[in-house]
């Protein structure tokens, strides 16, 4: 029993997209731009050449926020979306009826349809793959060359993520919606 979360030192991201490739490879995600569990977002820099605002052009890796109050879990009519013992928001494909309500309710665009099973898929912190094999890192974290991602147990005060969140300022996305995300962006 743990409470898994992830911190993202997003200013270190170089947009190499190795995390996206590692996620697809490790978890057997379908090919195609629409089928992604995680992604690297990017802003166009503000301003007009040569007066560009470099700070505005940061890359922003993202994925399912594994909310404590997940709208996708609340709206699921069959409990196909559920919290596992580690607080990870997961989908049971056997129960998913593909009503797509969760896709509409998720504020983070983190869900998509797996056209092989015709059920909704999303990030599960590699729970079926790496964590099930006893590993302690996710594929995206393991492959990141600039160590953007730090995955770990928020309940353990000595875990790397807990120490990081105690010592560095951080924010979450769309906090005003009350979803209590467990994906933290460190500044």
């Amino acid at each position: 029993m743990a409470t898994y979360g992830m911190a993202l030192d997003y200013k270190n991201c170089i947009n190499c997209k190795a995390c996206e490739v590692a996620c697809k490879e490790e978890n057997g995600i379908e090919l195609g731009a629409e089928k992604h569990r995680i992604w690297v977002g990017g802003n166009e820099p503000d301003g007009i050449w040569p007066l560009l605002n470099a700070a505005s052009a940061a890359f922003m890796p993202s994925q399912c926020q594994h909310c404590e109050e997940a709208p996708c879990e609340e709206v699921c009519p069959t409990h196909a979306t559920y919290y596992d013992d580690n607080g990870v928001v997961r989908v049971d494909p056997d129960k998913c009826i593909l009503c797509s309500y969760c896709m509409n309710a998720c504020p983070y665009d983190a869900r998509f349809v797996d056209s092989r099973t015709m059920t909704v898929d999303k990030c599960n912190f590699c729970s079926n793959t790496r964590l099930a094999r006893g590993e302690t890192t996710t594929a995206c974290q393991n492959t990141c060359p600039t160590k953007v991602r730090i995955f770990g147990d928020l309940d353990d005060p000595n875990s790397e993520i807990s120490v990081l969140l105690r010592t560095r300022e951080h924010f979450t996305l769309k906090t005003h919606l009350g979803t209590k995300p467990k994906l933290f962006y460190v500044m």
Binding site: N15, A33, E34, H36, W39, V40, G41, G42, N43, E44, M60, S62, P71, E74, V75, C76, P77, T78, H79, A80, D94, K95, C96, I97, L98, C99, S100, Y101, M103, N104, A105, C106, P107, Y108, D109, A110, R111, F112, V113, S115, M118, T119, L173, K174, L177, G178, T179
Partner: protein
């Protein structure tokens, strides 16, 4: 036709009684020949041809879905709900509306409206069945839904409540209709009242499906659950005009004329309230320039589909009602046809507008173009299944007019 009146008492229910009860439901024995023996006017032939065409399109659409699954639809990650959801809403709104109109007479005891009770309740059954026929091909796993809806109910989900309550509602509507056929008005009133309450609960939950979407500021809030009930009543009155118009070929008897002009007056009030609702919804959406909400509202105001909804479902019917003070029922029949087209656009707009605004997760490279608005246009399969739903609805209604006496017995 002789009709048996038998009191229903659940305490003394036995299998034999159930069989006897079912056997005593009055209906006309019909053959295929009877179904084909309609008055061969040009209008009737066109309508019959259209129904057959729509049913054919339904079969083709379903075959395309069975061959290609959801790939046959133009729904995407950004726009997961498409035309079929809008059409399902269109049918269930029609059903709830007809249930309200039908209840005026047999539940609330307004005698003038008894004329239409049986027909409206039958209409509510066929419209919701058409809705279920359409949604069965939108839900990815309808059989899984039937199982896990029961053994793993998501009680915090508006979809669960909506689906479950609509299932119950259909049951109560069928029971009410049977009692109406048997002329057992007391039992019809009891089941009608329960059915109406369950239907209203189901329908406001359907509004809640959109109202609970915190992520979509344009839909989030109390508006849709209440607006759905109002627009259901409006839809019910439009369909009442259409059904009675066809039944009496626009030569209304005095009683029907009185009932329809009374309904028209109610409709005038309801459409006025609707215009008031929509105006304030737009004003509050735009006011203050709240991020995501105001720009979506302004975009909606600039879309032609919104104005089709306003003109066909609100302006034309209200103008004609006010102009004749609700007396010109023939014109109002045509206004109701216009109204139903407008109501269809109302449902389509509701579903599409909810998903207009991308969720802005900075996915500007590779995944999608810099997001402005999410685009969607239904695929051929979606259009065929939707038209097929209308074909099913009209075909079932036509069979019903042959199979049952849908006129009020006192009137007939």
């Amino acid at each position: 036709m002789e009709q048996t009146v038998k009191k229903f008492n659940i305490k003394e229910l036995r299998l034999k009684d159930v069989k006897e009860f079912i056997a005593s439901i009055p209906y006309n024995k019909i053959t295929i020949k009877d179904l084909l023996s309609f008055e061969k006017t040009t209008t009737n032939k066109i309508i019959a041809g259209t129904i057959v065409l729509f049913l054919g399109l339904f079969v083709i659409g379903v075959l395309m879905y069975l061959l290609h699954g959801h790939h046959a639809y133009n729904v995407t990650r950004e726009h997961p709900w498409g035309l079929l959801i809008a059409v399902y809403i269109f049918f269930v709104v029609s059903s709830t509306g007809l249930c309200i109109v039908g209840s005026l007479g047999d539940v609330f005891g307004f005698k003038d409206y008894m004329l239409i009770s049986k027909r409206a309740i039958f209409g509510s059954i066929v419209t919701i069945m058409a809705g279920f026929a359409v949604i069965a091909f939108e839900i990815g796993h309808p059989v899984t839904m039937l199982i896990y809806n029961v053994i793993s109910p998501g009680l915090t989900s508006a979809i669960w409540w909506m689906g479950t309550l609509y299932g119950l509602y259909l049951t109560f509507m069928i029971i009410e209709f049977i009692f109406l056929l048997k002329n057992d008005m007391k039992s019809a009133r009891t089941f009608g009242l329960i059915g109406l309450l369950v239907g209203l609960a189901a329908h406001s939950n359907l509004g809640g499906v959109f109202g609970f979407l915190n992520a979509r500021t344009i839909s989030n809030g109390v508006f849709y659950p209440t607006y759905f009930i109002l627009t259901a009543f409006i839809t019910g009155i439009f369909i009442a005009f259409i059904m009675m118009g066809f039944r009496y070929k626009l030569n209304f008897t005095k009683e029907v004329q009185t009932m329809l002009s009374n309904l028209a007056k109610i409709q005038g009030l309801l459409i006025s309230i609707l215009i008031f609702f929509v105006t304030w919804k737009m004003l509050t959406d735009i006011y203050g320039g709240m991020e995501n909400r105001s720009e979506v509202a302004i975009h909606i105001l600039g879309s032609w589909t919104f104005w089709v909804e306003v003109i066909l479902a609100m302006v034309i019917p209200l103008y004609l009602i006010l102009k004749s003070k609700g007396q010109d029922t023939k014109k109002l029949f045509f206004a109701s046809l216009s109204g139903m087209v407008g109501i269809f656009f109302m449902r389509y707009n509701l579903v599409h507008d909810t998903q207009l605004k991308p969720l802005q997760m900075m996915k500007k490279e590779l995944y999608q173009l810099p997001p402005e608005w999410v685009h969607y246009f239904p695929s051929a399969a979606e259009i065929m299944i939707s038209l097929g739903g209308l074909g099913i609805c009209l075909a079932l209604y036509y069979v019903g007019t042959k199979l049952f006496n849908l006129d009020s017995d006192t009137h007939h």
